[in-house]
Symmetry: C2
């Protein structure tokens, strides 16, 4: 009998559910608006309904498991949300047990950033670079990150690992909502790109809507101020990578999310900065062929786009046992 | 039959070899000067000789394995040294196979900072805080670090993990020999404490010798400039910890090495900085009892002093299989 699993991507705007084979091939999917204004119970009912719909459609296959990715903060392995800024009204909700009760089946829950990293590790950049370990940044409205070590998600003691979007990258920089100064999220998120562009006086031509994409277009056309914005993205990403490369010495660092589409604009400064600031990186990527070379350190764009998270969610229950219900 | 294992601590000044029980009790030890000027083959002969001497003395016990800690850079798991600054003349030496050839037994080799972290995890702070995972800084001539995740040393792809003594903690700070600006090692090592004290014009009373210990004594006596030096140690340690806490969410961070004896002088600023700069730390250590609390994040002094490395070396072969000889 053929098998499959189900992945769920719970976003603040859309709720997506997909049936996926063990090899990562997408068989089918359902996409709904996330009805936040109707409250979490309705959103959970919608989610359970879409999952049951997929189960019905694929009744000739054996369902191996269900994985759900959610914005955080998410306490793991329990699956409880704590004041999630992108899911107002969900504070204190146990996403896992609420869904298990509706489905009468075990469910795995993890953060969207962890599952994007997991998807990239198994089916994207990790496969390309033959690496079981990676660190992934997701550059979007904020900066999320996830860590895969030897093929497993590193969650920290209760799910708070992978918050490298926050932390004092430039300790003299502006204060972030998290309390630190000069966080990566203050420079490298799509939100930050728009804010910095406004600070530098950039006005985009199309209807006055300043988006990160519009600023990237300006930069590609040679606008000096727009180029400066992406140069700062590259510099701060390079500083953050230098810390991670020196601490963890992973073979692969992946940059995904919408803002990663501007790779060509920020990558030169990013590579120059990590090369200057991390001697572990330089040992791994020597320019002098006579120098001893550690195994390569790859820094590469993500390959799965916005599908990384839902594919990671579907594959999660195939490798990790469900936690015991509490 | 009773059992034991042997740990070796190869330092630039002293070579120490100890026989240790599975429970971490030291049965016996031999300490020799490291005869660097005679070359690496003589040092290896001395090491093998001391190991054989311990084996002879404990012939009534079964030897379970031999672990060796060495200054780096050390390529793992091969055990090859690459331009180690504290072991001149050892470049390119395969410490593991050289020793295995002399002893006709399997040997495990790892960096001294990794093994100090491993020793603290099994017998020191890790036992006190019931934690299988920790990050340990060793503040000495330089700043070393080691990472233990779920009871195992995280080495990175070829042994370069745990270099958090280097990296752009203060990107506008002075340039370090590693190429980065404002590394932790530029502020928190014993060497840095002495350099900063001199820059601030401190002269110590005893024979003019400015040591980190003498500066700590001045600070304890209320000298403003000496207090400032240790305040900078605390600030930069706090910034480095904020990055690590946000990235890894470990339950325990340990600070050891000689300079850690000045804990009372740098800890207040260190805790204030990590509390300000890491919201993951604040979530784990809330001051408001009504706030949801993640499992605690402990930051604590090391407990085993200079024995951590040799105990970690002795315990290493008890948990990890020897790599296959190449």
């Amino acid at each position: 009998m053929n098998t499959y699993s189900i992945g769920v991507d719970l976003g603040g705007t859309n709720l997506r559910v997909a049936a996926v084979t063990r090899a990562g091939e997408r068989l089918d999917s359902i996409s709904l608006p996330t009805r936040l204004s109707s409250g979490p119970q309705v959103v959970l009912d919608d989610m359970a309904g879409a999952i049951c719909e997929l189960i019905d459609r694929h009744a000739n296959r054996e369902l191996l498991g269900i994985g759900v990715g959610s914005p955080g903060p998410l306490e793991l392995p329990r699956g409880v949300l704590h004041h999630p800024p992108n899911l107002p009204g969900f504070d204190g909700l146990n996403l896992r047990t609420e869904l298990e009760r509706r489905l009468d089946r075990a469910v795995q829950v993890d953060s969207d950033a962890n599952l994007a990293a997991y998807g990239e590790a198994l089916l994207g950049a990790g496969r390309t670079f033959a690496s079981q370990s990676l660190f992934m940044y997701t550059l979007g409205t904020g900066v999320g990150s996830g860590i895969i070590l030897d093929g497993r998600i590193w969650r920290g003691k209760q799910g708070a690992a992978g918050e490298s979007g926050h932390g004092p990258i430039l300790p003299e920089g502006p204060k972030c909502g998290c309390g630190a100064h000069g966080c990566l999220e203050m420079y490298a998120s799509a939100t930050a790109v728009v804010r910095r562009a406004r600070e530098l006086g950039i006005e985009t031509p199309k209807h006055g809507a300043v988006t990160a994409l519009a600023i990237a277009e300006l930069a590609k056309a040679g606008d000096e101020r727009a180029l400066k914005v992406f140069d700062e993205v590259g510099y701060t990403l390079g500083l953050s990578l230098a810390h991670l490369v020196n601490a963890l010495d992973l073979p692969l660092y992946v940059i995904g999310g919408g803002a990663a589409a501007a790779w060509g604009l920020f990558a030169p400064r990013m590579f120059a900065t990590v090369r200057e600031m991390s001697y572990v990186y330089r040992m791994s990527m020597p320019t002098d062929p006579n120098v001893f070379q550690l195994g390569k350190t790859h820094i590469a764009p993500a390959q799965l786009g916005s599908d990384a998270g839902i594919l990671g969610a579907a594959l999660l229950p195939l490798s990790e046992p469900a936690p015991v219900a509490q």
